[in-house]
Amino acid sequence: MFYREAGQFKSSYAEDSRIFPIRQDRYGFAFIIALAFLGVPLLAYLGVVSNYTFTAILTPFLIFALATLGLNILTGYAGQLSLGTAAFMAVGAFASYNFMLRIDGMPILLAFTLGGLCAAAVGIVFGLPSLRIRGFYLAAATLATQFFIVWCLTKVGWFTNYSSSGVISAQKIQMFGYTFNSSMSKYLFVLSVVSVMALLAKNMVRTNIGRSWMAIRDMDMAAEVIGFRPMRTKLMAFAVSSFYCGVAGALFAFAYLGTVEPEGFNLDLSFRILFMVIIGGAGSILGSFLGSAFIVLTPIFLNIFLQFLETTIHLDLPSGISSSIELMVFGSLIIFFLIVEPHGLARLWQIGKEKMRLWPFPH
């Protein structure tokens, strides 16, 4: 109902192929970006947004969004299901750690990039089976990645710089002499990285490479006949996807946890990211963010709710119950979404938007 598209005509293909062809959308997006980069820090400065918000909500949300983006490229766009996301994140994290550790004067961003590239390389290797096998055969195969990588990082001391516990503590994030210490500065750092990479991803999926992925996903035979090379396309998807996951992993270690152990990147994390994709919406950049937000916030609200129950109606829940309830909630949500809206929150948003554009008409 707030859309006023009449008169927004396109007189060049450049205009027509913008990311946000509708003016109102452009404004809306600009507003969100401004809010994220300026509004939030301002609120924090005013004391409205607490440190907890940064460390427990905003930063992890952004990092998971990036990882989800990665998996979405592989699963949502290229149609290759993977259960090894966490492994790629681990590679990114530990690679970056080692680059920082062993090459002094290594710029942090370069370290992250190299970390991502390592993840990409691993991705390509473990993507090879996808040429022969599809569907959940592949999914099962990717579990190999998950277990093997984590095992490697645990067993091969070199990766963890021979720390007895296998736990590494990531180096400080420093750029141009500035150290990102405060939770807010870390948030801003992550935000910048994620925004840029999200933009790049969006561009990829709306150009030839993105079309090649979707073609393989929707009808691989036809794609082949048209001249897309399945091998190249799939491996490219694996590489790009793993790169994103790798960088996400690096941020996970450097900007979020600070200290991580290989076991931190377990199958559970992989599933969590997969859930973000499913709930957010496979094959949608926006969906990656929505999904991440949803999964990050649900447990928080769940806990608040349970505490509310305990305090108000004094029913004492056994300890640790919340975690198991969390599991149940996630599980049922996944099933719910797969049944009701397989394209996730992104599709819901899209439908709502269409309604707004046609308002007052129903369709």
Binding site: N208, G210, R211, M214, M219, A223, V225, I226, V240
Partner: protein, 262 residues
């Protein structure tokens, strides 16, 4: 473009092609040729091996015996990528569009072999990448205009009616600017009007772009009207080959078609 369409010499020919799936023979000693700029039809009753033949031509299937001569080069079989590279495009019997994409994007995919920019440039979407994208968009828009599907430009193909989907698929094939176009039952399941349109498009393509067309069709009538030469297959064997009139007169053909009375 020459104003008068003339049939050139042989571009593609087959010599006793045989193809079988685990013992089941799909094609036996098929041999025929395709000339430049002509409309060549392969007809035959259901299960005559028409589609298999098409799949052999662009390398989806690999015959066990026989020889293919393509642009003078003798070869055992084709492969999909090469044949696409060397200007063979096709449509499929049961539509093989990319359901998740809009009409525009589907046709854009047809141009991938003509695109140079790599994924890094794509990612930045700046300068050459954008320019290339736009210049290909122009081409695609011309095809959309040619096929008269402007009004569905941005619709996801999943939502389109069958007839339109066929049209879009043709568009995707045309986007590759093929020298040889393989059409697998382009008019199957269409109503009369849609069929007429499709005929018009096929003829226009062949006429204005000088594209060589090999088409499979079930509907005898249509084929006879538009094609220059016809091959008739039955149970994987060639039973006739010649101009529509010759074929129409051929006894085996008549039997074959009466045989499968439908």
């Amino acid at each position: 473009m020459d104003s008068e369409r003339k049939i050139g010499d042989v571009v593609l020919s087959f010599e006793n092609i045989s193809l079988s799936f685990g013992g089941v023979k799909a094609l036996t000693n098929i041999g025929f040729d395709v000339r430049e700029h002509e409309i060549r039809a392969i007809i035959g009753p259901n299960g005559a091996g028409k589609s298999s033949m098409l799949n052999v031509i662009n390398g989806v299937y690999h015959p066990q015996e026989g020889e293919i001569i393509f642009r003078g080069k003798h070869r055992r079989d084709m492969n999909t990528y090469e044949s696409a590279k060397s200007g063979i495009a096709r449509t499929f019997q049961n539509i093989a569009l990319f359901k998740g994409m809009s009409v525009l994007d589907n046709i854009m995919t047809g141009r991938n072999l003509k695109m140079k920019s790599n994924f890094l440039l794509d990612a930045i979407y700046w300068g050459p990448a954008q320019r290339e994208e736009i210049e290909h968009r122009k081409k695609v828009e011309e095809i959309i205009d040619f096929l008269e599907i402007q009004h569905i430009r941005k619709t996801p193909v999943g939502r389109l009616a069958y007839g339109l989907q066929k049209r879009v698929e043709l568009g995707r094939a045309l986007a590759a600017e093929p020298s040889i176009l393989l059409l697998d039952e382009p008019m199957a399941g269409m109503n009369v009007e849609e069929k007429q349109d499709m005929c018009r498009f096929i003829l226009d393509v062949n006429d204005q772009l000088g594209t060589t067309i090999v088409l499979i069709e079930h509907d005898m009538g249509v084929v006879m009207d538009i094609s220059d030469r016809v091959v008739v297959l039955d149970y994987g064997k060639k039973i006739a080959d010649g101009t529509p009139d010759e074929v129409r007169a051929n006894q085996d053909v008549i039997d074959a078609y009466l045989g499968v009375a439908h």
